[in-house]
Amino acid sequence: MNETPKPIAGTASYLDDRLGAGSFLKRNLRKVFPDHWSFLLGEIALYSFIILLLTGTFLTFWFKPSMQHVIYAGSYQPLVGVGMSEAYASTLHISFEVRGGLLIRQMHHWAALLFVAGMTVHMLRVFFTGAYRKPRELNWIIGVLLLTLALAEGLTGYSLPDDLLSGAGLRITEGVAISIPVVGTYVTFFLFGGEYPGEDVISRFYSLHILLIPGILLALISAHMVLMWVQKHTQMPGPGRTEHNVVGAPFYPAFMAKAGAYFLFTFACIAGLGTFAQINPIWLFGPYTPADISAGSQPDWYMGFLEGALRLMPAWEINFLGHTVPLSVLIPALVPMGIIMTGLAVYPFAEQWITGDRREHHLADRPRNAPVRTAIGMSGVAFYGILWLMGANDWISAFFHIGLYETTIIGRFAIFIGPAIAYWVTYRICLGLQRRDQDILSHGVESGVIKRLPHGEYIEVHVPPAEDIAEHMRGKKEIPIVPGDEDKDGIPPKGVRGPIGKLRAKASKFYGTDHVPLDGDGHGHGHDDEHAAVGAGDKPRELH
């Protein structure tokens, strides 16, 4: 093809005459996107969101968000004649009497699980590579908001079918809301239109679930994408990659086609899960009644950490002057969520304050090269992970034959000890990996060739590492440290005076000190002996 086909050229000219789209396309058709497998994690969330919008719209065509009491007369025999809410009856209708209804319902549920999972792993990638640093702090904050909203969207969504399982989730939501000091009872009465469960909550959650929250999600996701587009993607260190360029494939056609294929692949996975992996078989649970519950009830995975926190908490409650503060509900409901979300939101700014680093960063860090950050991140992961596991402690207890109360008691200790161990282990692993990088750069890689020297010594020949891998390793950046040394009059520099300033200087030194500088021959344990060289280590090696 040598020229643009007439219909496309015509349409393009028409649009350009009216929108001036040409100059935008000129700048952006060949926009470069750096390649790395971990850059695709956020796309899972994006595509899941699109699938959620499509499948969700389909479900609204039949779902009736009403708590009106009806007697079931549909085609699912075991429940015929049973009283239930219209919401539950219409969910049964979608499942059994609408062709493809069950498929779309299951795909919607799976897509929701994948949406939050995609966001979570994407967030971890951004955190561990330091991709939230200037100029991307605002996009990071948008991401934290998205994650929080996604939890609310999930909660309002799985409450809608009004089956016994979703009702249990709703009951716990009510128990948590009513525990809030001063305003708790009012909040619940306003949310439920009176006493629990009332007749309003499903229709109210429905408006939140299909209009308000997805509207905000859509707006924030768009902003997230626009900012990513404008600021350009970060890239991993490697040959030819600097803080001032982007290396990769152009948007049109390669990246566009790849993204399209990835969307189709995500869609296919969700369709496959919706087909072959049954999820939320609401017809087995029966209609909701506050008088019953099934043992082993579990929330969707992303609520597991809150559930675990509720299970771990000892029975603390304060009564004073005729008032009650149920700490055994308040602390687990608010503190872990607060620690995680607030911690995520302030991290970029805290790191900037500690390092004094106000530069732009476009080259991603390898996690090992920022050991304190990586260790903090992993202790956060451990904190979340332990709470999450504890959300299924009854299953753990049944499966591993550990006493139920023992799992709880172990969890109460693990929640404090686990993150500390995770911190220490991660930190040591990071330094170990840095030493290995340093070793490879200074001594090369083992070639597997053993050579006998004229005087009888055996050595293993080392060869230089592949250039792109070596460049990747050399991409390690120094973490700045706020100067904290006192001058000759004993006055510390500006910014680190006073108790908070001193703390900052200490934190900065701790955060930024490079224990394994690449250029230094820093590791003090006779490295020559590590290799397969037999005999004296002071002979010149094959490398360099």
Partner: protein, 358 residues
């Protein structure tokens, strides 16, 4: 925006080292000048033509599979009807299976297309600092001040203050409008529908309970108030568990006057966050809430022995009517269910009240 790496006509100094795809100057958008696709560009590896031809066959096959699976999807919709659990299962498998295959084949085809037919890229574009240059910032700053002065917002104090004054009540209006979302709690959380003489009936069947029939120690029933079997609001507070003990098993925590012949009624609504405490272990007399594993000792006033619940399950005073059916003697004397701010130490107040009566 600063993401313009491509050189403008008078921008020679900023021409990046290598950029492909820059339209030649003077062409229209998607213009009619011949594209120069075959020119070698640094950083771009063109595919081997023979391999590309082989790849095309693979892609074609995959796209054709997607086409067939798409047809199968539509056919499944027409052929497989739904209505009962088995036919729904078949329809689900057919629709979902064909959709999955179609999407998978399509995405695989595109991947092969990108990887083996499109050239491989490694091209470089420049980045620029996000911040605008100093001149732009100056200009914006000056214009802002000039505009603010023109508006007179700073100079005319009364106007500014009354504008803020006007905004305050209007800002509150949406919150005020939400007031009718629900009634105020009042004392409703302190009461349930139980009252003196109301029959206890079995949940599900609605049968009243003859005390003499409920006589095997260790037996347990889930019980609701007669007349409220389907009132979820009532059930959310009034549901009971009824347990039969040998009288000597009962300890001091249980109020003996409120039992009948070793039969004790506790609120089934967990005092933690309100799940039904539905599990009962006969040998240990433990009531367990399956949600968060609060455990209560049924022989001892349902006091908490493990888990996050802070208070015992409230006990309901029961007795029998003339025909021997179990009835309530009164409402609970403490609020049931999860704790809330206005609750206070209702147990202490209730103990005091009971002490005064006796």
């Amino acid at each position: 925006m600063t993401d313009n790496e491509l050189p403008g006509p008078d921008d020679e100094a900023r021409v990046p080292r290598r950029v492909i795809g820059t339209p030649a100057q003077g062409t229209a958008v998607l213009g009619t000048r011949p594209a120069t696709a075959e020119v070698e560009t640094p950083g771009v590896t063109l595919p081997d033509p023979a391999d590309a031809r082989r790849a095309e066959r693979t892609v074609t096959l995959l796209f054709f599979i997607a086409f067939l699976a798409g047809i199968a999807f539509i056919a499944s919709y027409v052929i497989f009807q739904v209505g009962d659990i088995d036919s729904t299962g078949v329809s689900n498998a057919a629709l979902g299976g064909s959709l999955t295959v179609a999407l998978l084949a399509l995405s695989a085809g595109v991947v092969v297309w990108v990887r083996r037919i499109m050239p491989k890229y490694n091209i470089v574009q420049e980045r620029h600092e996000m911040r605008s240059d100093g001149d732009t910032r100056d200009y914006v700053g000056k214009t802002f001040v000039a505009g603010a002065n023109e508006s007179g917002f700073v100079k005319h104090k009364m106007m500014r203050r009354t504008l803020l004054l006007a905004a305050a009540p209007l800002g509150l209006a949406p919150l005020v409008l939400l007031k009718d979302l629900g009634p105020l709690p009042g004392t409703s959380l302190r009461h349930t529908v139980w009252k003196k003489g109301m029959k206890l009936v079995v949940e599900g069947t609605g049968q009243p309970i003859l005390a003499s029939d409920f006589d095997s120690p260790g037996g347990i029933l889930s019980v609701v108030p007669e007349g409220y079997e389907h009132d979820l609001n009532a059930l959310a507070k009034a549901t009971l568990i009824l347990i039969k003990f040998r009288p000597e098993d009962l300890k001091s925590g249980t109020i003996k006057n409120w039992t009948y012949d070793g039969i004790v009624a506790y609120s089934k609504i967990c005092t933690h966050v309100g799940c039904p405490a539905a599990l009962y272990e006969q040998t240990t007399h433990h009531i367990l809430c399956p949600c968060h594993q609060s455990t209560f000792d049924a022989t001892d006033g349902a006091k908490v022995i493990f888990g996050p619940a802070a208070r015992p399950l409230p006990q309901l005073p029961i007795g029998v009517d003339g025909q021997g059916y179990l009835i309530a003697q009164a409402d609970f004397d403490v609020p049931v269910g999860p704790s809330f701010w206005e609750r206070g130490d209702a147990e202490a107040d209730a103990r005091e009240a009971r002490g005064n009566q006796s």
